[in-house]
């Protein structure tokens, strides 16, 4: 007996929600988007090809739902949690560390398509080919969106200046482990 992919939906909820939150930048909207995605996936489960990547299929439904809602709204939704554009830290700390909050704020200012590309290939570990498939565009398009997003992030966070050179593996580890572990 083959397993029912419907029973596996629950396993993908955490990553689906993480994707939605980063895409929407608003948790209430993200949860509605996840809810819509679950219902669509459930009712269209026969369209899922068993043996293929269920997570990729779900992410595709989620992003398509997100973009149709955005098109209906007629403009990019400006209702973003917190104030992302203002008060960006302009430089890493003097010791070259990069606060996660600043990173998140900078990330939230990127256009949807760049955030999406970075979320798929940078954060969730999909290949460029899978991401291109999910976004229904060319591999080169995903690569260019991701690279423009990375370039913008490094610019916003001044990582391409002297600060970047101080970012040794050790300071990277420090960023990874705890942002509040600032030495004096």
């Amino acid at each position: 007996m083959s397993t029912n992919p419907r029973d596996e939906l629950v396993d993908h909820l955490p990553s689906l929600r993480a994707f939605a939150m980063s895409l929407c930048r608003n948790s209430a909207q993200a949860d509605d988007l996840v809810q819509d995605t679950i219902v669509k996936a459930w009712t269209n489960i026969e369209k899922f090809k068993v043996g293929t990547n269920l997570r990729a299929w779900l992410f595709t439904i989620l992003r398509n739902t997100f973009y149709s809602a955005r098109r209906r709204a007629g403009r990019e939704v400006a209702d973003v949690d917190g104030v992302f554009s203002a008060n960006l830290a302009t430089k890493p700390d003097h010791d070259g560390r990069l606060a996660m909050k600043d990173f998140e704020k900078a990330f939230a200012t990127l256009p949807d398509e760049q955030r999406e590309a970075l979320l798929l290939v940078g954060a969730s570990g999909f290949s460029y080919e899978e991401a291109a498939d999910m976004c229904d565009c060319a591999v080169g398009t995903i690569k260019s969106r991701a690279n423009r997003g990375r370039a913008k992030l490094s610019e916003l966070l001044n990582m391409d200046e002297d600060g970047a050179m101080e970012l040794t593996d050790q300071s990277t580890m420090a960023v990874m482990s705890a942002t509040q572990m600032k030495s004096m």
Partner: protein, 51 residues
């Protein structure tokens, strides 16, 4: 070439940060509404198959 490796270092760091921010969100507690929704969908489906 020095510039390239510097650049690669920055890019790697960006991806590490991306993964970390994303992972934090993955580890957040899920609202109950999603499990309730799945249970509800399952119930409805069972109703249909008995028709």
């Amino acid at each position: 070439m020095a510039h390239d490796s510097e650049n690669e270092h920055v890019l790697r760091q960006i991806d590490e940060n991306l993964k970390r921010v994303y992972q934090q969100k993955v580890e957040e507690d899920l609202p109950d509404r999603f499990k309730m929704l799945l249970a509800q969908l399952k119930e409805q489906g069972e109703g249909e198959t008995h028709q």
